[in-house]
């Protein structure tokens, strides 16, 4: 939805740089996958009980979207249209498995905490959405930038929600006490499910307020 279709896939240097810059801005802010397109909500809610989990999940998504966009874009002319969905899923699953194995091997505690949500990146609509909407029609370089940018947009929202929930829920950040119990009584509800929904709802509202002036400028 962001950039125009690439004719044949040839990419002049200037045009390519412009397209990359647009992909970066769209992915991280103007078309933020979580706030505007409302994609990838499940994991955005589930893993944000602590900031550390949110950051790892963000990294996982940056890696998966970037790499799968690159590979899908490289293969886009060799993929028959009829089986493109299966091909996309297989490619995405490969990178998700790589990340999952990496976590299991080097950070087993984190892998246990994230539980099934790493595997669920396969059905995370952001990855599939970018593959379908961008990587299938664009050359490899803008595609990888688009993938990374969307991953970063997702990671940024997760980090914000993670900070709010961990701070208000436990008074800590990344495990260090920021608000001691004498000053602030941790609100358990923030760590539990209802807190996740309410915080994300508020985050979407704040984003709408932040984006409102930009939209008016575009209209004028």
């Amino acid at each position: 939805m962001a950039a125009s279709m690439a004719p044949g896939g040839a990419c002049a240097a200037g045009q390519c740089a412009g397209r990359c810059a647009k992909a970066l801005k769209d992915g991280t802010f103007t078309e933020n996958p979580v706030c505007v397109q409302i994609l990838g909500i499940c994991s955005a809610l589930a893993v944000t009980t602590r900031l550390a989990n949110a950051l790892v999940m963000g990294a996982a998504l940056i890696f998966t979207t970037g790499m799968s966009n690159l590979l899908i874009s490289l293969l886009r002319n060799a993929t028959p249209r009829r089986i493109r969905m299966i091909a996309e899923v297989a490619i995405i699953a490969t990178f998700v498995i790589m990340f999952d194995q990496f976590l299991k091997a080097f950070y087993p505690a984190m892998s246990k905490q994230l539980g099934p949500y790493v595997g669920l990146i396969i059905t995370n609509c952001i990855v599939m959405g970018r593959a379908e909407a961008y990587a299938m029609q664009n050359p490899p370089l803008p595609s990888i930038v688009d993938g990374l940018a969307n991953g970063m947009g997702y990671a940024a929202v997760l980090a914000v929600i993670g900070v709010v929930r961990e701070l208000l829920g436990t008074g800590k950040l990344l495990g260090f006490t920021v608000l001691p119990p004498t000053v602030y009584t941790p609100n358990q509800a923030m760590v539990l499910a209802p807190g996740a929904f309410v915080v994300l709802g508020c985050a979407l509202a704040v984003y709408a307020v932040l984006k409102a002036p930009a939209r008016q400028e575009a209209k004028a």
Partner: protein, 197 residues
């Protein structure tokens, strides 16, 4: 392996550990398809059916194919998603062939289900929590019913929401999120009843 009875798991999956309200799975279609009660009901029925069947197939695939071949640790993601996609496709073809009426009622929801993360999520939870066969079946049915319950409640609420005055920044998805939060809080009232980890 824990020895909670399958029936307890079924009840817990509907109320205390609702797959949507406590595990946040299946949010995408929950947000998109909860505008009307009829749509929500159709999708809920389709999800319950597919979730029950794929949990059973995935259980068999994991314990009788992947584990004996010793590839269960790194291949189960890709096998599960393939099973779900293939099953949905198959059901779509069968329904279209034998019951056009049902196909028109349910058919449009089926492709949506492949990317519904609740289906894959239920299969992954089944593996992580080391459920037995009976427990997996209970969990699959319970999760499906629980998800349908959540989307039906939301569809009812959204019809009322049409008459209310929502603050401007909260218009759209933000207010739905906040309402879901209140719903999740209400469901936490069931927490003392039964619990599964």
């Amino acid at each position: 392996m824990n020895d909670t009875s399958a029936f307890v798991i079924l009840i817990a999956a509907i109320f205390t550990n609702n797959i949507l309200l406590s595990n946040f799975l299946g949010m995408c279609s929950f947000l998109v398809c909860s505008r009307q009660l009829a749509t929500a009901l159709g999708l809920g029925a389709a999800v319950t059916f597919v979730m029950t069947c794929t949990t059973i197939i995935n259980y068999a695939a994991y314990h009788h194919v992947l584990v004996p071949l010793k590839v269960h640790d790194h291949l189960y993601f890709i096998v599960f998603i393939a099973v779900i996609a293939a099953f949905v496709q198959l059901v779509e073809m069968i329904i279209e062939r034998f019951s056009p009426a049902l196909y028109h009622a349910l058919g449009i929801f089926l492709p949506l289900i492949t990317v519904n993360c609740a289906i894959l999520g239920a299969a992954l939870f089944m593996i992580i929590r080391k459920y037995s066969f009976a427990q997996s079946v209970g969990y699959g049915i319970g999760s499906g019913i629980g998800w349908s319950l959540a989307i039906l409640l939301m569809a009812g609420l959204r019809q009322k929401l049409g008459y209310s005055n929502v603050p401007k920044p909260f218009e759209g998805v933000a207010i739905i999120m906040a309402i879901t939060g209140v719903m999740a809080a209400a469901f936490m009232g069931f927490a003392g009843m039964v619990s599964i980890q």
